[in-house]
Structures are given as C-alpha cells and as structure tokens.
C-alpha cells in the first residue's frame, strides 16, 4: 500500500511536472523562432526595398547593376558585422552577389515564387541553423532573388541550455520530492505497521501490549479503539482462563473425592478376598465398603442436583415462614440436641416467594454447616428480617469461624476449609455449592461474613 501510494504519487508528479517543462520549452522555442522570422522578414523587406530604390537609381544613371552590386550592398555589411546575417542575390539561378562566399544553397530554394511572395524556412547548414527568407525583387527586377539568411544557432543553443537547465532542475526537484514523499508516507504509515506488529504480538499471546496514543487525530482515535479492543480481549481471555482453571480445579477435586472412597472400597474388597478369616473381620470390612459407597452415592446425587438446578427453571409460590421454619426445626432438632447446640429461629415477615423444598435444603445446609463449626454448647441464630426493603435471611453461629482467604472459596465445589480435606465433619463437599446454586435460582445473593474464633454469618439477600 505504502509503495503503491508512493509510486502513483511520484509518477503523477513526474508526468505533470515534466509535461509543464516540455510545454514551456516548446512555447519558448516557437516564440523565439517566430520572433527571429519576423525580424528576418522585416530586414529582408527593408533590404529588398532599399535595393529596389538603389537599382532604380543606378539604372537611371545608366550604370550596369551587375558591376555595382558590391558597392550597392556595402551599406548592409553592418548586418554581417556580427557574422550572423548573410545576404545573397541571385539572378535567375546565378549567384551574383554574396557577402559570405561559403554559403551554397541548393537550387530548390530559388524557385521563383512570384507575386511578391516570400518563403521563410529554417535551414540547417554545417551544424548551424539559419532562418532563411528568400523572395524576388519586385518587377522590373523580378529576375533577381534576394536571399536573407539569419543565423539563430546562438539563440537555439541558449534555448537548449535553458531546456537542459530546466530538466536538470526538474530532476533535482523530483528527487527531493520523492525523498519527502517517502518520509511523509513513512510517517503516515508508521501507525499502521505498529498496529500490525502489535496485532501479531497479541495474536501470539502477549495480550498486555498496547498501542501508544498521541495527539488527537484519527490515528490516535483508532489507536484508542484498538487498545480498547485489546483490553476487552485480555479481559475475556482472563475470564476464560479463570473459568478453565475453576473447571480444572473442579475436575481435580472430583477425581480426588472419587479416588479416596474407591481406594477404600477396593482395598476392603481385596481384604475380604485375600485375608479375612473371621466373620467379624468380614463385617468390619463390608461396613466400610458400604459407608464409602454411600459417600460416592452422595457425591453423585449432589452433582445431579446441581446439574438439574442449573438446567431447569424452578417453580415458586408464596410460602409461609412458619411452615418453612417448622420443617427446618423438624429435620435438625435431633442432631442439634445430640451435639448440644441451641438453634434460635426469628422471623419478622410472614411469607416468602420461593420453592419450599429448595429453600428447605438451602437453610438446612447452612445450619448444618454452622453446626459443624460449633462446639457443644454453641448457639445458632436464624433471623429473617427486612433490610432496605429486601427480605434477608441470615444464619449466624458462634463457632470457630474462618479467615478471609477461605471465605472466597467456600462455595466452590469440594472446597474444604481444612486443606487436608478431612471428612471428619462428613458431607460430600458440595453443600455450599448447592446452596449458592439454589440462591441463584431464587435471584438471591448468598454472602458470608466470618471472623476466626468469633463465628460465621451466612446471609441470603432476596433482590427480587
């Protein structure tokens, strides 16, 4: 593109520039020739008419014209003083006088034209250029032909020099222009090459590269939008990378979650097959096989629940808070009594627009988590209240709490606050992931606040 623009511009310029020079040269040349011709004609006329008078005078005195030609032409010798003008007089085909012997004219120029017509022509003789005017003298001397030769070689040489000068200057100017044009185009196209370089970098994975933005012209505008595009790409790639990482983490965790019970199941089956000799040992091993299988089953169910929740729209209706709380109390009271944990229920609004079963699962899960964090004698508070016009349900415990870094991850599948992933508290590690999904399906926001040693608060805010 750059070179095409450069070539086109340069050729166009060269064409018009040189054409201009050529036109100037031709015009000057024509003008010059024309002026020389005019001058020659004038002189020819002047000499002819003077000669005519002289001839009359000579003849009236009875002197032969032929013998006095030299003296007759004497006054015009000034013309040949600078050797530029040559005069020749022909009588018929015969040269009767010439002020310069060296001129030999071809006979064809001496064709009588008659009627006082004169012939003007440009002749080249021995490297010199002449304007030649030939014409007969008026009657009765019309057998004389007067030839006037004007040497224009110098003028033409001067013209040639001027022409050469012009073309030389034109060449220098053109070179300067070409150079300037190249620099200008380079400057104009520099952002383009920059863009292509940076695009290549971005394509190669250097998403953080940006174009430098300077000035307020179209190019800087383009650079800005290009940078904006690069930013968007970087952001989206980042998002994709994060999503991929989370998915990888999920798969890794799932593999780990599956591997541990599988190791136990396989190991105990092998134990029964190869080692067990008493019924007691067999029972012991089968118990483990069953509990580990149940764990696998739990994971499978939870994953299925998650998948179903992600796919389907849930049905919602107005549920009375009293019913919801009663249901939760029923499922948890036994376990709470066992662990000596007190659960307090408070609600300050009467109905909640939700799916009763899912909301039950969510709240039971949250309270269950709270119970795991609590030591015996702990207190858990479920409070349903209005905050800024939004319905909010919070579950607060006074258990061991957790640090900020854990809080960010607790809704991720299989994430365990204890890095060892100890299952001493039981569960598949999918409870909070499920809670979050249920919250999303209810257009609610699930957030956590925690302080190590002081307890954790889970807050469910209904935004709709």
């Amino acid at each position: 593109m750059k070179y095409r623009t450069f070539l086109t511009t340069l050729i166009l310029f060269l064409l018009s520039f040189n054409l201009g020079i050529a036109i100037i040269c031709v015009t000057t040349f024509k003008d010059m020739v024309h002026r020389a011709e005019e001058k020659s004609l004038d002189e020819h006329y002047f000499i002819t008419s003077a000669l005519l008078k002289d001839f009359h005078a000579v003849e009236s005195r009875g002197i032969d014209i032929g013998n006095s030609l030299a003296s007759l032409f004497q006054p015009y010798s000034y013309l040949s003083g600078d050797k530029k003008v040559k005069l020749a007089l022909y009588k018929g085909d015969q040269l009767v006088y010439s002020n310069r012997q060296e001129i030999i004219l071809p006979g064809s120029f001496l064709e009588p034209l008659g009627g006082g017509n004169r012939l003007v022509s440009i002749k080249k003789l021995d490297d010199r250029t002449y304007i030649m005017v030939s014409g007969q003298l008026p009657a009765p001397y019309d057998f004389y032909t007067m030839v006037y030769l004007y040497d224009t070689t110098d003028a033409i040489t001067a013209w040639k020099q001027m022409k050469n000068m012009l073309f030389f200057a034109g060449f220098i100017l053109s070179s300067l222009l070409a150079l300037g044009l190249l620099l200008l185009l380079n400057r104009i196209f520099k952002p383009l090459s920059q863009i292509s370089q940076i695009s290549r970098n971005i394509a190669a994975g250097a998403y953080e590269t940006r174009l430098p933005v300077s000035g307020h012209d179209e190019l800087s505008e383009m650079a800005q939008s290009f940078n904006h595009m690069a930013e968007e790409i970087q952001r989206q790639i980042q998002q994709l990378a994060t999503a991929a990482e989370q998915k990888q983490q999920f798969v890794d965790n799932l593999a780990h979650e599956l591997r541990t019970p599988l190791t136990a199941i396989y190991g105990y089956a092998e134990y029964i097959q190869k080692i067990v000799r008493t019924e007691e040992d067999k029972l012991f091993a089968t118990n483990y096989i069953m509990s580990e299988s149940r764990r696998l089953q739990n994971i499978a169910y939870h994953l299925l629940d998650l998948a179903t929740l992600r796919e389907n729209k849930i049905e919602r209706s107005s549920i009375r808070m009293g019913e919801l709380v009663d249901g939760i109390e029923q499922s948890l009271s036994m376990k709470a009594a066992e662990q000596n944990i007190r659960i307090i229920y408070e609600y300050r609004f009467d109905t909640l627009f939700c799916n009763a079963d899912l909301m039950h699962i969510l709240l039971v899960n949250l309270i269950d988590n709270a119970m795991k964090a609590c030591s015996p004698g702990g207190i858990i508070k479920l409070v349903a209240d209005l905050e800024d016009g939004h319905k909010v349900i919070s579950v607060q415990d006074n258990g061991k709490g957790m640090t900020e870094e854990h809080l960010i991850h607790i809704t991720e599948a299989f994430y365990r606050v204890d890095s060892s992933r100890s299952r001493s508290g039981g569960g598949a590690g999918l409870g909070l992931t499920l809670c979050k999904q249920i919250a999303v399906n209810h257009e609610a926001e699930l957030s956590f606040l925690s302080e190590p040693g002081r307890g954790t608060t889970a807050k469910l805010t209904f935004t709709s």
Binding site: T263, K274, S420
Partner: protein
C-alpha cells in the same frame, strides 16, 4: 517384623493399611494428622513411616522434613509428576499413588525395609527356621534341601503371609514376569514345600483363589 507408623487422615484407609500390614506381621501405629505424627515419632522408634501428603494441621512434606532419617513412603491421591518429583527429591524412599493395591504397598514396604533394616532377616514358625540371607531352611534344626525356585516361592509366601495369593500372582512374584510356564508349576512346588517342611496345615489352598500361608 517392623514397627510402622501410618499417617493418614482418612480413617477407613488408615484402618485398611493397618490391617493389611498387621496381617503380614508388622506392628502398626495409626495417627490421623501431622502434629500427632511428630508427637508419636518423638516418643518411640519406628522402622518406617507411611505418610499421606495432604494432612490436617501440618502437611506431609513438612512432617517429612522434621523427621529426617526415618525411612518414609509417601502416600497421596495426587499423581502429577511434579508432586512425585518433589516427594522423591526431598529424600523419600518411595511414593505410592491412591488408589493402590495392598500387595503393591506390601511389596514396597518390604523393599524399603530390606534396604534400610540392619538386623539379620530370619523367620521362625513351628519347627521351621528360614534364614533369608544365606537362603537356608531348617526343620527342627536340620537343614532341608530346597531348589532355588522352591526357596523363592517360600520367601514370597512368608513375605505375604496371611494373604491369599493367586497362582498367577505367585508365578509373577517367584518366577518373574517373563516366565512362560503353566500355573500348575506353582501347584507342584507348593506340594513339594508342604511335604519337605511339613506345612500341610500352614499352606492353605484358598478355594478358587490360590494359596495362603497362615500364621
């Protein structure tokens, strides 16, 4: 045999390893987190530590750095190369990825113990005495002539005592992978051992499985 410390937070797997190791005659101590492991190691001497990497309180790598000098086999669910390399460059004696077969665990435990245990390797049962170093077998103090293969088979049975071994597995362990013989070779050798060492009641035939040396 040896005293082995099992550090594994999964109760079911910890118990499983313990039962398997005990059945071949090792003494086992079970702990469920890193702190307890360090505490236990400070109290008594063990020959080998089976160490899970992901542990509560203190992770396996850290425990390992604190107990330098005691032979250790890492157990983990993570199987990527960098984890293995990290475990082994730290100086672990071996590395096992879950899920693993118990026979593999036992074989590796045996291998590490053979490498690291200084005391002479003897086995006594009823009137039988086996010296593994000199490859000699005595019955009631009288030396018994055994072919090399018979001795190999006996060694495999003793190392995996109380564990039923299939004929294929016996062939693989005693004769090697590249042996192309029939599994009946095993039967023949077992019969010879039973007769020579008077072990009819000790080497049991396990129905549809193989043989087991019961101790």
């Amino acid at each position: 045999m040896a005293t082995i410390l099992i550090v594994e937070d999964e109760v079911s797997i910890n118990e499983l390893i313990k039962r398997n190791l005990q059945s071949v005659g090792h003494t086992c101590i079970s702990v469920f987190d890193g702190r307890a492991a360090i505490h236990e190691l400070a109290q008594q001497e063990v020959d080998l530590v089976l160490l899970d990497i992901m542990l509560p309180e203190i992770d396996g790598y850290e425990v390992f750095q604190q107990i330098q000098g005691i032979p250790t086999i890492f157990l983990t669910a993570r199987s990527n190369l960098s984890d293995k390399v990290k475990g082994l460059t730290l100086g672990a004696d071996d590395y096992l990825v879950k899920p693993f077969e118990m026979l593999e665990l036992l074989a590796r435990v045996d291998a590490v113990l053979r490498r690291t245990k200084k005391e002479s390797n003897n086995f006594k049962l009823d009137g039988i005495k086996i010296d593994f170093e000199s490859r000699q077998v005595f019955l009631n103090e009288h030396p018994v002539e055994c072919t090399p293969k018979e001795f190999d088979l006996l060694e495999v049975l003793v190392n995996n005592r109380n564990i039923a071994l299939s004929r294929d597995r016996l062939l693989e362990l005693a004769w090697g992978y590249d042996y192309v013989g029939d599994t009946r070779t095993v039967d023949v050798h077992i019969q010879k051992l039973r007769k020579k060492l008077d072990m009819e009641s000790r080497i049991k035939t396990v129905y549809k499985m193989g043989y087991r040396l019961e101790v």
